[in-house]
């Protein structure tokens, strides 16, 4: 049986939340996920900001709510999508062909490839890592340098791949500022003697309890926030990383050697998101998907029966992605009812 009411491309938080709602509306729903399991980027995260809620627990909660109307296909990459006739969508994967009355895109984002910012030395020096790799260390409860030492000094750099004209991304990725605050607190709890420096251009704590967590990180965890963007990083003979920046609040250059240098990588449209945005010509200036209208029809597109949810549109936090999944399910309900 390859016919469904709704096909959802992408089984991350937005796709899962939409599937929960659509399942509850009694629509036969199919999630197509390219990874081994659903959950999206949640599977790579340990705890969520700003309340340290367990990512695993959230994933279990979401999975539990999926009812029998929802089928899941994993390890299936979308090869092609066609709007075969009015109100009919066909999705081809390597193994099969599936059709539906409505199509929901929840294909999400990918992390910025930090190698593109060569001056920070990612992929060149072993102790330059991304926030994603740091999160994996936090998840394992063990933070070491690549050569197995316990780090004494760690530096974080904000806006790697975001707010940077040089890589073509003018936008802010929203999550990284508060994520560095969260991670620095977790690292300090694992390594009480560590000294941490966070380099920023602006700190954007634009969410409930974000600012409070930032204060806590300064006051209780003594994370030092330095306004200034690191210009370059170089390795020392013993594999530590020497960084150069300007302390713009003092108008003075500074240099500092750290054991781990963490790049807070931003969010970019995922490969599938780019494929779809090009295919249907609904790409915004960065390859994300453009909704019909930002205020009142943010889940609809100019194409009938094609809906959007989550970070395939723009960077979003997890709670926002979940709400967007809900909103998309409601929009699809209205569409199928009036069809």
């Amino acid at each position: 049986m390859n016919h469904f009411d709704v096909i959802i491309i992408g089984g991350g938080p937005a796709g899962m939340q939409a599937a929960i709602r659509l399942g509850n509306f009694n629509y036969k729903t199919l999630i197509i996920e390219k990874e081994k399991s659903i959950g999206g980027k949640l599977t790579q995260w340990d705890k969520l900001f700003p309340d340290f809620y367990s990512a695993e627990e959230l994933l279990q909660n979401l999975t539990r709510q999926l009812n029998e109307n929802v089928s899941i296909l994993t390890e299936q990459e979308v090869k092609d999508i066609e709007n075969t006739s009015e109100n009919e969508w066909t999705v081809k994967t390597a193994d099969g062909q599936y059709s539906s009355k409505a199509l929901l895109i929840a294909s999400g984002y990918d992390f910025f490839n930090a190698k593109r910012k060569e001056e920070f030395g990612y992929g060149i020096y072993p102790n330059v890592i991304t926030s994603v790799e740091l999160e994996a260390m936090i998840k394992n409860g063990k933070i070491t340098t690549l050569d197995g030492r316990i780090p004494q000094k760690i530096a974080y750099l904000q806006c790697v791949g975001s707010r940077d004209e040089k890589v073509g991304n003018h936008y802010c990725s929203i999550n990284c500022c508060i994520c560095a605050v969260k991670q620095s607190i977790e690292v300090k709890e694992l390594l009480p003697d560590v000294e941490q420096y966070c380099f920023y251009m602006d700190l954007r704590m634009a969410g409930q309890h974000y600012e409070e967590l930032y204060r806590t990180s300064q006051e209780k965890y003594h994370v030092q926030f330095i306004r200034g963007r690191i210009s370059e990083a170089a390795s020392t003979f013993d594999n530590r990383i020497q960084i150069k920046a300007e302390n713009t609040l003092l108008s003075t250059p500074l240099k500092l050697t750290v054991d781990l240098f963490v790049l807070m990588v931003g969010m970019e449209a995922s490969e599938t998101t780019r494929f779809i945005s090009q295919k249907f010509n609904i790409s915004n200036e960065y390859g994300f998907l453009q909704s019909k209208q930002r205020y009142c029809s943010d889940n609809e597109t100019e194409i009938k029966g094609l809906f959007l949810a989550g970070t395939c549109k723009r960077p979003m936090t997890i709670p926002k992605s979940l709400k967007d999944g809900d909103a998309a399910a409601n929009a699809i309900f209205d569409y199928l009812k009036n069809r």
Partner: protein, 114 residues
Amino acid sequence: MKDFGYSISKGRTLNYDNSDFSLKKTLEHDVVSYCRCIGCGACASTCSAAKFTDFSIFKCNMLFRNAKYDELEQELSKCMLCGKCTLVCPRGVNTRGMILEMRNLIEKNKNNNE
């Protein structure tokens, strides 16, 4: 012909690797709110002393964080301890207490080094 020819400029770069941050750690402990400064400058903007001298309180905070005590000592002497800055700080920094404690710590540090 004293000003003739070239000389070598002293580097301006703050080197965190060989700076001594021990005073900073004491202040973090004694005036906890000191850590919360975000350098907004509200303190400097309301400061009576700043109207007549180039005194800036948040800059004192930044200098202290960066262990630039020589410059700081002169700066701190400009403060009249009126406390207006404490009233305006959005982060609740005990600026007046911070300045007093900085003066004490730097003085003690100097005596220890002599």
